[in-house]
Subunit: 223 residues, 2 copies
């Protein structure tokens, strides 16, 4: 790559890292556990998040930020879960960055929250490079996308704390090969936690909420 | 966005446009019709391309370039169609650019080709900004991705000449809403050609090859 681009890119990332570190401190001070979701377009992030919010809402104080190039579709869908939601529209930018998150949070009382979910723009590449100050990052991939995705997009798997296989209700219809996917994830990221869910049937969401609780408890005990 | 980034980005794009224009002249001089494919990761570009190459091979001289961050998986798959294939691995770069294409073509006798297919990295955002010197760009989206994708990723639809709905054999299993998709495409890109295919069953490929023939004939008659 052009050395000038590399230089500018490094500076952008350094600036983002500083903004993300500031966010992370704010989240910790306010006692908010922040989880980001990344995936291809159409892997089912919004359906997954809607089901997650509905499952967690009775017991926790939740909020969500959702990123897209255009439209308020996702925020409108997520508001059905009766959780406060803000949409970030990025225009032509292919990922969220820490400053966009900071701007979207303006005026929101973080102290009143236990959990914040951030749904990134649908993209398996660029979001990998941008820390959003989150404590956990989940990478979603649907059974319809093919088992080779971890090999082809290794960076995003390397920055995630858990891989979530979505649309598991379609596994048979598409001939999903679980063993191949496990092997490919293990190849790029040995030991990465893996969950399987269906936002349609609700399968796997109890385990996912449990996983979140464990992660947040482990983090609190470390602080 | 940071004004310095905007400036560098503009210069990169200008440089890419020059490289793409040079490629386009070479393609025209050699009489090669070049088609690029863009989509989300997992929309089925490689299966689609494999079926396309197999369908066209008996009558034409074909070649393909395939882009991925990592692995030679796609090139290996496509070589089964007995067409010459070269893999471009981009590392962490989220799109192909015209210089990568030019480098990948080094030593290939373009005069010996009628058609060249270029499969981009799986990404519905960034490839939209990079002209590869192609004569036609096809945007693929699978029935499993949701009908809202054109609204959320309008730019890529605006740079394409045809939208191809893949995995149409799964339409019933996922409750695909054809009317909603048509409405959404029409909203962002009125009049965009639309084809529906299944790489599994072969449905729709006759029409696709016909469409390619019509496009290439129209272009030749214009030159």
């Amino acid at each position: 790559m052009n050395p000038r681009i590399v230089e500018v890119r490094k500076n952008i990332l350094k600036k983002n890292d500083l903004a993300a570190a500031a966010l992370r401190s704010r989240f910790q001070a306010a006692g908010v556990f922040v989880v980001s979701l990344v995936s291809s377009p159409g892997a089912g992030k919004t359906a997954f998040l809607e089901r997650t919010l509905t499952a967690m809402r009775p017991r926790r104080r939740l909020a969500a930020l959702v990123g897209d190039l255009a439209t308020e579709c996702d925020a409108d869908r997520l508001r059905r879960s009766q959780v406060p939601v803000r949409q970030i529209t990025t225009g032509t930018v292919c990922h969220l960055d820490a400053e966009m998150v900071a701007r979207a949070l303006e005026g929101w009382p973080l102290d009143a929250l236990d959990w914040l979910f951030i749904e990134n723009v649908g993209n398996l590449v660029c979001p990998a490079s941008y820390d959003l100050g989150e404590q956990s990052r989940a990478v979603l991939l649907s059974v319809t996308e093919g088992e080779d995705k971890p090999l082809k997009y290794p960076t995003i798997f390397n920055t995630a704390d858990v891989a979530i296989v979505t649309k598991i209700d379609l596994a048979d219809a598409v001939g999903f090969d679980r063993e191949a996917l496990l092997r490919n994830i293990e190849h790029v990221r040995p030991g990465l936690a893996l969950l399987e869910v269906s936002a349609r049937s609700g399968k796997g969401f109890d385990r996912w909420v449990e996983w979140l609780d464990e992660r947040s408890a482990a983090l609190v005990s470390r602080v």
